[in-house]
C-alpha cells in the first residue's frame, strides 16, 4: 500500500540525511521526497511517499519517530487528505497544429503555459501524481523534452493540522 508520511523536522544540517539514510539502511523504499522550510524557521516539513504492508509502515513510522531530529509525524493516508504535486514540462511544439492541440490539452488539465519559444512550450501543472501521469500520457512521450516533478506534498483535510 502506498503511504504519504509527512513530518516536521529540526531544521538542522544532517536531518535530511538521517531520514534518507534510515530508508536505505533498512531497505525501505522512497518513491518521492520533498522538503522545505516552514513558517517556523527552526522547522522543515518533509513529505515522503513510500509503500509497504502494514507491518513495514508501522516500522517506518516508529523508526522515523525514533530519530532525534523528527519532531512530529503523520501518516496522511490514514485519514482524508489532499495530495498535490507540481510539474514543469518542456514539450516540443513546432507546428501550429501541434501548438493548438497542446494548448487545448493544457486547458483541459488546468495547467499553464509559462514559457514559449518557436519550437517549445513549457507547462506548469499541479495535481495528484495520477493526473500528472495522465497529462504526460496524453502529450505523448515523443513530444516531451524534459519533465521536472517536485514530488508529492500533502495536508490533512478538515481542521486537523500537523503543528507543534
Amino acid at each position: 500500500m502506498r503511504h504519504i508520511i509527512s513530518m516536521l523536522l529540526e531544521n538542522e544540517a544532517g536531518a535530511l540525511a538521517r531520514v534518507a539514510g534510515l530508508f536505505s539502511a533498512r531497505g525501505y523504499n522512497i518513491e518521492s521526497l520533498t522538503v522545505a522550510p516552514t513558517e517556523d524557521p527552526s522547522l522543515s516539513r518533509l513529505t515522503l511517499v513510500t509503500s509497504g504492508n502494514d507491518e513495514i509502515i508501522e516500522q517506518i513510522t516508529k523508526q522515523l519517530n525514533k530519530l532525534i531530529d523528527v519532531v512530529k509525524l503523520v501518516d496522511l493516508t490514514e485519514g482524508a487528505h489532499i495530495e498535490r504535486e507540481m510539474m514543469l514540462v518542456k514539450v516540443r511544439a513546432a507546428e501550429s497544429e501541434a501548438r493548438a492541440e497542446l494548448k487545448r490539452l493544457v486547458d483541459i488539465f488546468r495547467g499553464r503555459i509559462i514559457d514559449v519559444t518557436e519550437r517549445t512550450y513549457t507547462i506548469e501543472m499541479t495535481g495528484t501524481g495520477d493526473k500528472l501521469d495522465a497529462f504526460i500520457d496524453a502529450v505523448g512521450r515523443r513530444a516531451i523534452l524534459e519533465v521536472v516533478r517536485t514530488g508529492v506534498s500533502g495536508i490533512a483535510r478538515g481542521e486537523k493540522a500537523l503543528r507543534l
Binding site: 540525511a17 539514510g21 507491518e55 525514533k66 532525534i68 519532531v71
Partner: protein, 567 residues
C-alpha cells in the same frame, strides 16, 4: 563579568559537571587543545589505550558494569574511523557511551584536509545521535544533550564531533542543569490499560514463560524481575544480553534461550501459551525461524523502544515503557487482584519442563584426557562465584560456553558483545570494567583468534595496572567458524585453523604480565586458583583445549526452537 574559557577548558568543565571520572582515549592533532586542558587538571583520569577501537570497548565495559556512561576521546580521521567498530558495537547493545572525536578546523571541513573524514556521516547509521559542534558557544549545551540522550530512554552511543578551532575559541561557560529536546521524550510509564490487560492474560496462563533481555539489565530491573517471577512461580529464560537479570542458580531459571540456549528453555518457549517478553528484542539468534516461533503463545512485550515491538514477531499486548516501572506496576496489580495463576496447570507445566531439563542438554565428556572448554568455565565459576567478580568475553564458542556454564546470579556481571558479535571486545571491555571496579576480580574469557584482535591492549593494562585474569580457551581454531564448517560445509575447514600462533605465555611476559600454559585437565583448577590469588598482576592463562569440541545444543539457522541439534 563572567570569565571566558576556551573550548578545550569548557570541554573539561562539562565532563566534570557530568561527574565523569574516567576517559578512554588516544591523542592526535585535532584534540591536542583538549589533551592540554586535561593535562592541567586532575579530577578526570585518562586511560590511554593502544587502539581507538579498544577505547570504545573499554568505555562499554565501564558503562555496562557500572551503569554510568562511558566516555571516549579520539582524534579526527583515523582516530574516528578506528573507533567506529566500537561505536557500532555500543549501538547494537544499547550501551550509553559518549564519544568525542576531533575534527579539522571549521573552515577546512569539506576540503579533504589532513586527517579529515566525515565522522558524522560515517557514524550516522550506528549512533543514537551525533552532533557536529561548529560554534564554541554551543559546546556546553551540546555535551549536556549528548549525555542526556546517551543515558536516557533506550541508551546508546552519541558522537560529538569537535573541530579543532572550536576547542581554541573562547566563550562564557555555563552548564545547563537540564536540557529538554522537543523531539525526544522517552515514554517511561506503561499504559495502564495495557498493563491491566497484560496482568489478566498472565493470570490466565496455563503454560507461561518469561523471556527477558538486556533491557532488564540496562534499566536496573533485576530485583523487580525476580520479585515478579517468584510471585507468579513462572519459568524464566534470559537472552545472551539478559544473563544475570534473573539468578541463574534459582530453580525457576531454565537457562539461556536461542541458538545455543538450553533444551528446556527453547522447548518451554515453543510450547508456552503466554509469553511475557521483557526488555528483549526477538533477535534472530533467539527466535530462529520466526514462522515457527512460539506457535501457541499470546505474547506480551514490554520495552522502552516502541520500534522493538512487533518488529520481528507480532505481539498481542505491547507495552511501551521503562521495564522497571512496568514490572512494578504489574507486581502491584497482581498483588491487589488477590488472584493467582492456575496452580494445577502450573504444576503440570513444571513437570513437563523438568522432564526437558532432565535431558541434561549441556552434558559433555568429563572423563576426557584433553581439557574440555566447558570444564574450564565450570571451574572458573566455582573458583570465583563467592567473590566480587565480573566476566567479559570475546566472540565465538568460548562466549557461548561461558554463557551456558557460568551461572550469573547478579546483573551487570556478564559483559559481552551480543548484537554486533565483535571479536576483540573482551580484553578492552575487561579493562573498562576493572577501571570502574578497581577492587573486583575481572575475568576475560577469550579465544586465540579473538584475543589477537586487540592483544595490544596488554600494554594498556600494564601502564594502568589493571590486574585482569585472561582465560584463553585455546583450541587452535576459530572454533565457531570450524563448528559451522563441520556441520554445514562437510568439514571443509577453510581458513579457520589458527596457524602460526604466538607463544602466549612469552607474549604475556613480554608485556610485563604473568603467563601460564595449562595442558592437562587436572591442572585447570589449581592454575585458576593460583592466578586468582595474584591480586595485583594480570595473569594470562593459556588453556590448551579440545580443538574438536562443539557448542551444543544448537538450533540451525532457519529451524524452529523445537528443532535443536543435541549432543
Amino acid at each position: 563579568m563572567t570569565v571566558e574559557l576556551t573550548g578545550a577548558e569548557i570541554f573539561v568543565r562539562c565532563l566534570q559537571e557530568e561527574g565523569v571520572e574516567h576517559v578512554f582515549g588516544y591523542p592526535g592533532g585535532a584534540v591536542l587543545h583538549i589533551y592540554d586542558a586535561l593535562y592541567q587538571q586532575d579530577r578526570i583520569k585518562h586511560v590511554l589505550v593502544r587502539h581507538e577501537q579498544a577505547a570504545v570497548h573499554a568505555a562499554e565495559g565501564y558503562a555496562k558494569s557500572s551503569g554510568r556512561p562511558g566516555v571516549v576521546l579520539v582524534t579526527s580521521g583515523p582516530g574516528a574511523t578506528n573507533a567506529v567498530t566500537g561505536i557500532a558495537d555500543a549501538y547494537m547493545d544499547s550501551v550509553p557511551v559518549v564519544v568525542f572525536t576531533g575534527q579539522v578546523p571549521v573552515h577546512l571541513i569539506g576540503n579533504d584536509a589532513f586527517q579529515e573524514v566525515d565522522t558524522i556521516g560515517i557514524t550516522r547509521p550506528c549512533v543514537k545521535h551525533n552532533f557536529l559542534v561548529k560554534d564554541v558557544r554551543e559546546l556546553a549545551v551540546t555535551i549536556r544533550k549528548a549525555f542526556y540522550i546517551a543515558t536516557s530512554g533506550r541508551p546508546g552511543p552519541v558522537v560529538v564531533d569537535i573541530p579543532k578551532d572550536v576547542t581554541a575559541k573562547k566563550a562564557p561557560f555555563h552548564y545547563p542543569e537540564r536540557v529538554s529536546l522537543r523531539s525526544y521524550n522517552p515514554t517511561l510509564r506503561g499504559h495502564p490499560g495495557q498493563i491491566r490487560r497484560a496482568v489478566d492474560l498472565i493470570l490466565s496462563a496455563k503454560r507461561p514463560m518469561i523471556y527477558t533481555g538486556g533491557g532488564v539489565i540496562l534499566d536496573d530491573a533485576a530485583a523487580e524481575l525476580t520479585e515478579f517471577a517468584r510471585l507468579l512461580g513462572f519459568p524464566v529464560t534470559n537472552t545472551l544480553m539478559g544473563l544475570g537479570g534473573y539468578p541463574a542458580t534459582d530453580r525457576q531459571f531454565v537457562g539461556m534461550l536461542g541458538m545455543h540456549g538450553t533444551y528446556e528453555a527453547n522447548m518451554a518457549m515453543h510450547n508456552c501459551d503466554v509469553l511475557v517478553a521483557i526488555g528483549a528484542r526477538f533477535d534472530d539468534r533467539v527466535t530462529g525461524n520466526v514462522e515457527k516461533f512460539c506457535p501457541h503463545a499470546r505474547i506480551i512485550h514490554v520495552d522502552i523502544d516502541p520500534s522493538s515491538i512487533s518488529k520481528n514477531v507480532k505481539v498481542d499486548i505491547p507495552i511501551v515503557g521503562s521495564v522497571r516501572n512496568v514490572l512494578r506496576e504489574m507486581i502491584k496489580l497482581i498483588r491487589e487482584s488477590g488472584r493467582a495463576p492456575d496452580r494445577a496447570a502450573l504444576d503440570a507445566w513444571w513437570e513437563q519442563i523438568e522432564e526437558w531439563r532432565a535431558m541434561d542438554c549441556l552434558k559433555y565428556d568429563r572423563q576426557a584426557e584433553v581439557i574440555k572448554p566447558q570444564y574450564v568455565i565450570e571451574k572458573l565459576y566455582e573458583a570465583t562465584r563467592d567473590s566480587d567478580v565480573y566476566v567479559t568475553s570475546d566472540v565465538g564458542q568460548h562466549q557461548m560456553w561461558t554463557a551456558q556454564f557460568y551461572k550469573f546470579d547478579r546483573p551487570r556481571r556478564w559483559i559481552n558483545s551480543g548484537g554486533l558479535g565483535t571479536m576483540g571486545f573482551g580484553l578492552p571491555a575487561a579493562m573498562g570494567v576493572q577501571v570502574a571496579h578497581p577492587d573486583a576480580t575481572v575475568v576475560c574469557v577469550t579465544g586465540e583468534a579473538s584475543i589477537q584482535m586487540c592483544i595490544q591492549e596488554l600494554s594498556t593494562c600494564r601502564q594502568h595496572g589493571l590486574p585482569l585474569k585472561i582465560v584463553l580457551l585455546n583450541n587452535r581454531y576459530m572454533g565457531m567458524v570450524r563448528q559451522w564448517q563441520e556441520f554445514f560445509y562437510q568439514g571443509r575447514y577453510a581458513m579457520s585453523y589458527m596457524d602460526a600462533l604466538p607463544d602466549f605465555v612469552a607474549l604475556a611476559r613480554a608485556y610485563g604480565h604473568v603467563g601460564m600454559r595449562i595442558d592437562r585437565p587436572q591442572d585447570v583448577e589449581s592454575a585458576l586458583r593460583e592466578a586468582l590469588a595474584m591480586k595485583d598482576r594480570l595473569v594470562f592463562l593459556d588453556f590448551q583445549t579440545d580443538p574438536a569440541e562443539n557448542v551444543y545444543p544448537m538450533i540451525p539457522a532457519g529451524a524452529g526452537q523445537n528443532e535443536m541439534i543435541l549432543v
